[in-house]
């Protein structure tokens, strides 16, 4: 049997184990990678490889960035930073038609700047914004759609767990990826706001205008966003000027947040313990996803499958953007059927070399993949953010949420098209940092 065929059988087996056994993605990749390596080389080589990879991945300095940024997000969640961000955005935009939804996106954008997870962003903002929008008679189509899609900003805006994983898997600079994500996240937020604006123009009943607030109140509310902006400037600013590594940025951000929230008594012991537990759970999941991808990647590497696919694709006489379109379509469809983060980790060993073979800038390509991965988090039936919102507001029908998401998906697609036409939107800040 040829090595390429063994590689293909490995991928098919992996999918079978994933879908028919329901085995966690990280474990399934490790197991299939181990078995494939055993088949091609030997049992001794396979078990030595797995043992060494688990130990070296777990003890890798670069990966220690993961728990730190996740912890930062959970601290912000448990210390009420999100409520103050929302209150501020609400005071400024609440009196507009659809203003509460716009305020949610604005608060999402700011919260995403200190939290690296789309689920955490959706859960946090959902808990804060959904009751408010219900109070002011917002249609559930608009309220649920805003919260579900607003959460995706957490993935694109640095610090982002997805960007960290891509950086670690593809050996790209996490700092550059973080800096490259800033403008696309802002662009995506603006497109979401335009979507809300247009929807409320067409149907004003979707988001009736809220009560007006005086300028004094508006100015006063700005104090609520100071700490979030301070954390963002400290973390991303420090990275931008090269003051510290991403891991150190995470640690300093957490340290600062701990001091601020503990000294103002907004972080309770219960909140701290809960943050630690949730962080450990999510970090462990991410670590094993990365470990599994490395083990599976080793098996694929000995079959030479990624290189053969890349060589074959680069030999095609079609536009690289056609191939990019197909890759993005695969991610979109894949994201519908399995968790988008898992799908990303699974496919990076194949699709990243492919993109490089077509000469795509790695930072730009990584941001585009991140954008399409975020879409996976809001597309049915396996859109994790949808279920987060459903859990927060059980009275909203799943069908309503699916319908609402479709409006915002268009904004995501437009954002990707703009980034493809104007790659400088991604690259300008990393180039400035150079």
């Amino acid at each position: 049997m040829s090595l390429t065929l063994i590689g293909i059988i490995g991928i098919v087996t992996l999918l079978a184990v994933l879908f028919f056994l329901g085995m966690p993605v990280g474990f399934a990749m490790s197991l299939v990678g181990f078995c494939g390596f055993w088949y091609v080389v030997s049992f001794k080589a396979a078990i030595t490889m797995v043992g060494a990879d688990v130990w070296t991945t777990f003890s890798k300095y670069g990966l220690t960035v993961v728990p730190l940024f996740i912890f930062l997000g959970y601290l912000a969640f448990n210390s009420g930073i999100a409520e103050r961000l929302y209150t501020c955005a609400y005071k400024w935009f609440g009196h507009w038609r659809g203003g509460l939804a716009i305020a949610t996106i604005g608060a999402d954008e700011l919260f995403a700047a200190i939290c690296g997870s789309n689920t955490a962003t959706a859960a946090t903002m959902g808990a804060v914004a959904l009751p408010q929008m219900k109070k002011y008679n917002y249609d559930t189509v608009l309220s649920s759609g805003t919260v579900v899609t607003g959460g995706t900003l957490g993935t694109v805006m640095p610090p982002s767990v997805v960007l960290i994983i891509i950086g670690l898997q593809t050996e790209q600079s996490i700092t550059k990826l973080f800096l490259g994500g800033i403008l696309p996240a802002i662009l995506l937020g603006i497109l979401f706001i335009i979507t809300i604006f247009v929807l409320c123009r067409i149907n004003p009943n979707l988001g009736p205008a809220g009560p007006k607030t005086g300028m004094g109140e508006k100015i006063k509310s700005l104090t609520g966003i100071i700490e979030a902006i301070a954390i963002f400037i400290l973390v991303i600013g420090g990275l931008f000027v090269g003051l510290f590594t991403p891991t150190e940025a995470g640690a300093v951000g957490v340290f600062f947040t701990l001091i601020v929230t503990a000294s103002t008594r907004r972080l309770t012991w219960k909140g701290l313990i809960s943050s630690v537990k949730d962080t450990l759970k999510i970090s462990c999941m991410v670590f094993f996803l990365v470990t599994g991808a490395i083990i599976f990647g080793r098996f694929l590497a000995i079959t030479r499958l990624p290189f053969i696919v890349a060589e074959f694709a680069s030999g095609l006489t079609v536009s690289p953007y056609f191939i990019l379109g197909i890759i993005l379509l695969i991610y979109l469809i894949g994201g519908c059927f399995m968790d988008s983060l898992g799908f990303l980790v699974l496919t990076i060993p194949i699709f990243f070399p492919l993109g490089r073979a077509f000469g795509f800038d790695p930072i730009w390509y990584a941001i585009i993949l991140t954008m399409v991965t975020t879409m996976g988090a809001i597309t049915p039936p396996v859109g994790v953010n949808i279920y987060v919102v459903k859990a927060l507001a059980p009275d909203i029908e799943l069908g309503t949420i699916f319908k609402s998401v479709s409006f915002f998906l268009l904004a995501c697609i437009i954002c990707i098209v703009i980034l493809v036409i104007f790659p400088q939107i991604v690259l300008i800040i990393p180039e400035m940092a150079n």
Binding site: F27, I47, F58, A251, V276, L289
Partner: protein, 169 residues
């Protein structure tokens, strides 16, 4: 009945072990935060804290390995259950038991292999590059974390078998 009681005891033991490991993991994570922050602070004014780079990596290994069992008990790992959820309860239980059994064997092997590697590091007196201290205890910690995960899979597997047996009755 006796089997059931034994499985309940085993489950409790697994939960206590993983809860203890979780607290240790939490302490190591806090240590990572203070160590990295101290390193930034001291580097700005005096000089870097020696060995921060390698200690951060080893602490990170303990954090992850000791959280493995807890994450599994909390069903925190990403899985694709779209298809499995459409099967009957009986089929789901059978598939789960196969799943747990395979994972138990796999993580048992991984724990054994990393444990062997730790023993080699101990016997050869391998030390870290900067601080020149032994690091095999961290390697043993990772092996122990994998063994704790193996124990969780064992209890999950036995519980699944018990459920299948009950279903047949």
């Amino acid at each position: 009945m006796r089997h059931e009681a034994n499985i309940i005891i085993l489950d409790k033991v697994a939960k206590i072990i993983n809860q203890m490991l979780l607290y240790i993991a939490g302490c190591f994570m806090m240590a990572m935060i203070f160590l990295a922050s101290a390193n930034v602070f001291f580097r700005l004014f005096w000089g870097p804290v020696r060995g921060t780079f390698e200690l951060m990596g080893y602490f990170g290994a303990v954090v992850t390995a000791f959280a493995l069992g807890f994450t599994q008990t909390a069903r925190g790992h990403i899985a694709v259950d779209v298809l499995v959820q459409r099967f009957s309860k009986r089929t789901q239980r059978t598939l789960n038991s196969i799943n747990y059994f395979i994972c138990m064997i796999f993580f048992g092997l991984v724990a054994w292999q990393i444990g062997r590697y730790a023993t080699t590091l101990w016997e050869t007196g391998e030390v870290t590059e900067t601080l020149q201290v032994i690091y095999f205890p961290f390697t043993y910690a990772v092996a122990f974390g994998c063994a704790a995960l193996c124990l969780v899979f064992l209890t999950d597997f036995l519980k699944c078998l018990l459920e299948i047996q009950r279903g047949q009755k």
